[in-house]
Homo-oligomer: 339 residues x 2
């Protein structure tokens, strides 16, 4: 990996799936920390589906990436210079808005110190970070599953989906999921302990496939995907069902969203769809961290990563993440973990 200060710049709003032309590798300017700032050498970055939503030029719940400016997202680094109280060179830090560059300088309040090396550093942007908190809050607080209820999760082999399914099992639910390949289907059933799982690419009729893996109907649906799968699920929700709307990854690359026809089911079934954004739920982090570290220690949660190497890999990693091209949390590593 290069020692030079590099960065990945967002080039322009893509149509459909972002390709290599959406990103540019270029030298990064260097700046010294001002009072209250720290300089951080990047170690690894997380790629997450919500980042596609920042490439539309429209303000949603996060500001759009600006063309010509570096990508930014969840990342981990090491402090190399500090003019901020409480931060010293050598500290390991995580940020929700780390610029995709070799080193960057910014206000210390944008960073949190990583207190423990008990787990791999990368876990702090994955199972112990935003995706973990998303699964925990979305399932338990928004979905509110009770023991014995039927939980269905889309993108079940994704970072969030895999955690949702496993937490639901720990809470005594029957769990089924939807994925896009036979390998992922087996991963969910054989490795993660799902009761059943469908491969939507192999399904002749999506609604029948949902009915088949959820024979008792659906009490809680954790939605990552949107589109026709949501429409199929609506046909099989039970009375009082809760749909936790976490994402609609199938829709992010479309010019026009796909239609939904079966919303009237919400009426007959007194059901709800509740959208949520994880940054609204920061107060749940302590409970989440206590539970999740305990589950990890006890071997009750399985967790995989797919590591891409170097800034050069960002376009490929991004495409692979959005298209479901690999198993495991998408990590771009630009430096080795320090000792």
């Amino acid at each position: 990996m290069s020692e030079a200060n590099q960065r990945i710049v967002f080039v322009d709003i893509p149509k459909g799936m972002p390709g290599p032309e959406s990103f540019r590798l270029e030298p990064a300017p260097r700046s010294e920390p001002a009072e209250g700032e720290i300089r951080v050498r990047a170690i690894l970055f997380s790629l997450d589906p919500y980042m596609r939503g920042r490439m539309t030029g429209r303000k949603t719940y996060v500001a759009p990436f600006e063309p010509g400016h570096p990508l930014a997202g969840y990342g981990i680094g090491q402090v190399v210079d500090s003019r901020a109280a409480g931060f010293s060179p050598g500290d390991l830090v995580v940020s929700p808005a780390l610029k995709f560059q070799s080193a960057s300088t910014g206000p210390a309040r944008g960073f949190a110190k990583i207190a423990t090396r008990e787990f791999p550093l990368s876990y702090h942007v994955g199972v112990l970070g935003m995706p973990g908190l998303t699964a925990y809050v979305g399932l338990l607080d928004i979905g509110g599953p009770k023991s014995g209820e039927s939980v269905f999760v889309s993108a079940a082999a994704s970072t969030v989906g895999a955690l949702v399914g496993q937490i639901a099992k720990l809470k005594g639910c029957r769990v089924a999921g939807s994925v896009g390949s036979e390998a992922k289907r087996r991963y969910c059933v054989d490795e993660l302990g799902f009761d059943d799982c469908l491969d939507y690419r192999a399904a002749e009729r999506l609604d029948q496939a949902v009915a088949q893996v959820c024979p008792g109907g659906i009490d809680v649906y954790f939605e990552n995907v949107g589109g026709p799968l949501l429409d199929a699920v609506l046909k099989y929700i039970n009375v009082g069902a809760r749909i936790a709307l976490c994402g609609m990854i199938s829709q992010y690359n479309l010019e026009r969203p796909e239609p939904i026809y079966n919303l009237i089911a919400l009426l007959a079934k007194r059901a709800c769809i509740q959208g949520f954004i994880i940054t609204d739920h920061e107060q749940r982090r302590p409970a989440f961290l206590a539970d999740m570290t305990a589950w990890l220690r006890a071997g009750k949660i399985r967790y995989r990563e797919k590591v891409f190497e170097g800034f050069e890999s960002v376009p490929e990693a991004f495409r692979s993440m959005l298209s479901g091209g690999h198993l495991g949390k998408t990590i771009v590593r630009v430096a080795a973990d320090p000792d």
Copy 2:
């Protein structure tokens, strides 16, 4: 009005809007009350939009009407014979499942006695009955509006819609609505005190019309209509918006429901759509009756009825109700109120 025992029978599942061929007037059989039963002479019936849902042959949240059997719904009558404790001839009663026939016999537990003549009898199937409770629970419990918030209601001149708008005003909200004629628009603004109202039939673009009458966005949407209006509203909901899904009257006569494209707004806005069915909320009736009678006495709620006369009027009344052909609660009167 005829003295003979007549009834209105549901003929068969209509395609689209139910026409005269969907109903048949015929002589009704007579039966004497058994132990625990009462015989009730019908005075008036309520026609409500949910009844269309019972004409599809599919079980939804109420059993479908059976071809060849009488229609049934909310109705008011007078006891003429009783073999049930607590009921005497002359008692005025209301039932959620009164057969559309001149007189009928059934278990007393299907009836509630009307304790007060302070208000017109018909109010007990309207502003003080199911539609009133629906507006009250749907707005206050499901929608949860706070003073100063923006409330939007579809079918705003309907029985439920008009009450939703007025209750929201009493709670300090800014209220706008959607209706299907200029006369209804004026009714909402001039008579019911809405802040603004759109006529969807006159709107060139529905989404622009919604934006115009809700300049500050929408915090609570009380949904009676479904279809393109819901899609338009989704574009203008505020962060944390609540959509109380009470009905989708625009969809009931369609072979296939209309598509919804903008559900992704629920995500960015952390909003929810919650379906509800009023029969789940019986425990709120005492609070509702206390508030609503106080509001009526104080002249704070305006309420209109459209009375159709005789069983012969049922097909016309039903069509007029479903198509928005008149202002006010739809009542079919088959006998005069007793003194």
